[in-house]
């Protein structure tokens, strides 16, 4: 560095990372891996908000998309990730409509999720009922939990 500060960093300016720092970093990494969010903002601000669950055979991704039909959504999968995009439209209600309240939002969205394991991309199923999207992603054989029997010696 070219600039040398007269009152430079004190000797204790750099510290050994504490357990707390390490834990924070680990948490950030976990969240980022799952949501593709920018560091420091785990999962925040990306539409649609998503819930992900798993059982031994599948991953389940759910999102609330009121007013949307399955064919208006663009869903694609690769080995470990799922992308959901589309546009929520709210139709205009005619010239003479005077709004008292306008809380519902319209607009475009696109979201990418990385799942914890590989999926069988051939068998992914998506459905949209009552404004809730459910994507069922079967786990690839390698990602399924295996029961290992311990043999008595």
């Amino acid at each position: 560095m070219a600039i040398i500060r007269g009152f430079g960093l004190p000797a204790w300016g750099w510290r050994v990372p504490t357990d707390l720092d390490r834990m924070r970093k680990e948490m950030d990494r976990l969240f980022d891996g799952l949501t593709g969010a920018t560091p420091g903002m785990p999962g925040a601000g990306v539409f649609p908000l998503t819930n992900v669950t798993e059982d031994s055979d599948n991953y389940y991704v759910r999102a609330e998309l009121p007013g949307m039909k399955a064919d208006e959504l663009d869903i694609s999968v690769t080995g470990e990730s799922l992308s959901i995009s589309g546009e929520r439209k709210i139709l205009a209600e005619g010239e003479d409509a005077k709004y008292h309240r306008r809380e519902r939002n319209a607009g475009k969205f696109s979201r990418m999720l990385t799942l914890p394991g590989h999926i069988n991309t051939q068998k992914v199923e998506a459905s949209c009922t009552d404004g809730v999207l459910t994507v069922v992603l079967p786990k690839a054989e390698a990602a399924k939990p295996k029961q290992i029997t311990v043999k008595a010696g």
Partner: protein
């Protein structure tokens, strides 16, 4: 392309109804987002209630207060474990007071893809009329 079309949707957290006094049952209660607009003939209310089936939606009208309440079934099955949770589910409740200019007998409700459309027609006397002024 209009401004509305170009805009990207932002994620918003669901608004939980906070008042403890209103709660008599376990579980979470949310306030659905609504649009309300008025035309010459009536008032239309649109409410986002994702996860509510037509049979689980109650619209109750008494003493000029209309109450919308929708029950939501837990979408997850028993064997699933959580990996990521960004939104919670629960019933929706919201109340509106109506003016007496609404023809309460002609209220219509329709629920499609989690969006309720409630049409509240104005009573005959409240529909504005043009009054012709005669010149003498």
């Amino acid at each position: 392309m209009t401004e509305a079309e170009a805009k990207a949707l932002e994620a918003r957290e669901k608004r939980e109804v906070a008042s403890a006094a209103e709660q008599t049952r376990p579980g979470l209660t949310f306030k659905p987002a609504v649009d309300i607009f008025e035309t010459q003939t009536g008032i239309t209310l649109l409410a986002d209630m994702p996860g509510v089936k037509a049979g689980d939606l109650n619209i109750d009208l008494r003493e000029d207060v209309i109450t919308l309440s929708g029950e939501v079934e837990r979408p997850e099955t028993a064997g699933e474990t959580e990996i990521l949770k960004e939104y919670r589910t629960g019933r929706y409740v919201r109340q509106f007071s109506l003016s007496d200019t609404i023809d309460q007998a002609k209220i219509e409700a329709e629920l499609q893809d989690g969006v309720l459309r409630l049409v509240l027609p104005k009573a005959e006397k409240a529909v504005p009329r043009k009054i012709a002024v005669k010149a003498k």
